[in-house]
């Protein structure tokens, strides 16, 4: 058994040096070999790696596949996340019908019409941050000055969280999604965030405003559907999820576009919202920043890709390599903003597909069509090989993006 264990490929593998936008070559080798194979994780557990696009979609939409992290065979991302998962369960780690009940409480503000109605407010936020950036010293760090504040301001406005507290929740968000956080750090960050939101929900019950937390406090907490604590846990999920993902897409997308100046110029000069929307889909596909594999566990025996996954066995689904599969996307390693990339699985697939995706799309469309137009001379203020990429994060990106203009 020990011999077999050490022979299994360790997951995740490293990206190749000099290719920071491409998935680890070892993951793609496994994908070429078989759609489904065994891998070894940090804790020596040996779940199944479902590597190919079609099988990933099939598994992610299969009701025999569970997202419940409390189940024994669930393939945890790290010791820190394993510890955290035991405590506060959000609907991303529940199955239907419990998942659907809770998710449906928070879907309304992310409907396409509602998100489109936020465009002027998001545009103002983006314009204001660019004004400040241009008025400040250069070089500047695009992550701190722009990429993080955009989604942070937007999600704060939507939820009704005071942006003045952003240092506090941005620091704790970072600790929560870092694979290197210890169990203690991860738990402490979660407790701090939930305590903060629980107190905020308490205030919203007394003094409601026009925001999602106030609405949920009135509709769900006041009626006994949720406890104040349960709403705080849900609010924490939305706050964290709304931050790091879009922020990383903004900064990493800019880093990628700066290496493709022709396409950046096309995007900058585009007056066609469809071209911008298509470019966003392609960048989502190309970068697939949720890069450490979606995690599931089988609740029944399942035959897939020529293998039998037994009840109770873990399943790892790296969507980044599905989005680079040549059978699905021609010339997949080429960034091409004119490609129809809409079938990508960067937001996942199945009932757990990203709740905030309409908002993320609109934020990215506004950012990509505004930033390079307002700052046409935008350029990296560091050598690319000096950029520090988030290899240790659940969400990929750059820690800093020094830019000048």
């Amino acid at each position: 058994m020990t011999e077999t264990l050490t022979e299994l490929p360790a997951f995740p593998a490293q990206r190749a040096s000099g290719a920071p936008f491409d998935p680890p070559p070892e993951h793609r080798r496994l994908q070429r070999q078989a759609p489904v194979s065994r891998v070894r994780l940090w804790d020596d557990s040996t779940p199944w790696l479902v590597s190919s696009y079609a099988e990933q979609r099939a598994m992610l939409s299969d009701p025999r596949v569970s997202a419940d992290a409390r189940q024994a065979g669930y393939p945890h991302q790290s010791a820190g996340l394993k510890a955290r998962r035991g405590n506060e369960v959000t609907f991303i780690n529940m199955d239907d019908p419990q998942h659907a009940r809770l998710r449906r409480m928070v879907t309304a503000p992310f409907a396409i019409k509602r998100v489109n109605a936020m465009r002027p407010a998001i545009q103002r936020i983006v314009d204001g941050l660019i004004d400040d950036l241009l008025a400040g010293p250069k070089p500047a760090d695009l992550v701190q000055a722009f990429a993080l504040p955009v989604p942070s301001l937007v999600i704060c406005e939507l939820l009704g969280v005071p942006y003045a507290d952003h240092d506090f929740f941005q620091q704790n968000s970072k600790k929560l999604i870092n694979r290197n956080s210890t169990p203690e750090e991860s738990q402490a960050a979660q407790v701090e965030l939930v305590d903060y939101l629980e107190e905020l929900v308490g205030r919203k019950l007394i003094e409601p405003a026009d925001d999602l937390l106030s609405r949920l406090a009135a509709e769900q907490v006041a009626t006994g559907e949720l406890t104040q604590h349960q709403l705080a846990v849900m609010g924490q999920l939305l706050l964290v999820a709304g931050h790091e993902t879009t922020a990383n897409m903004i900064a990493l997308g800019t880093a990628a576009l700066l290496e493709h100046p022709g396409q950046l110029a096309e995007l900058r000069d585009a007056d066609d919202p469809k071209l911008v929307a298509g470019a966003v889909e392609e960048l989502l596909r190309y970068l697939t920043i949720v890069h450490s594999g979606r995690r599931r566990v089988a609740t029944e025996d399942i035959e897939v890709g020529g293998q039998l996954i037994r009840k109770g066995e873990g399943i790892v689904l790296p969507t980044d390599i599905a989005n680079r599969q040549p059978e699905e996307f021609a010339d997949p390693d080429k960034l091409d903003i004119h490609r129809d990339a809409r079938k990508h699985v960067a937001f996942g697939f199945g009932v757990h597909q990203c709740l905030g995706q309409p908002l993320a799309r609109v934020e990215l469309q506004i950012v990509y069509s505004t930033l390079y137009r307002r700052i046409p001379t935008l350029a990296l203020a560091a050598e690319r090989d000096q950029l520090k990429f988030k290899h240790d994060g659940l969400v990929y990106g750059v820690y800093e993006l020094p830019v000048t203009w």
């Binding site: 998710r103 309304a108 809409r342 937001f347 697939f349 009932v351 597909q353």
Partner: protein, 64 residues
């Protein structure tokens, strides 16, 4: 073409509305998909197929 939406399966991702605003909408209260027509015009057929292909909950069924 005849199209149906299973509202119990729908997770309100809004992907169908992005693919075809002429055929799909979302309920105000919870973002669940609703059909504006169940017999889309030939001009909308391709967009409806796209909507079915990207629906994460496999909630859209098409009969050609």
């Amino acid at each position: 073409m005849r199209v149906t939406v299973d509202q119990d399966k729908c997770v309100g991702s809004g992907q169908c509305v992005l693919a075809s605003e002429a055929v799909f909408d979302q309920r105000d209260e919870d973002g669940i998909a609703v059909l504006l027509t169940d017999t889309p015009s030939a001009a909308d057929a391709e967009d409806v197929r796209q909507a079915a292909a990207v629906c994460p909950a496999l909630a859209i069924d098409i009969q050609e």
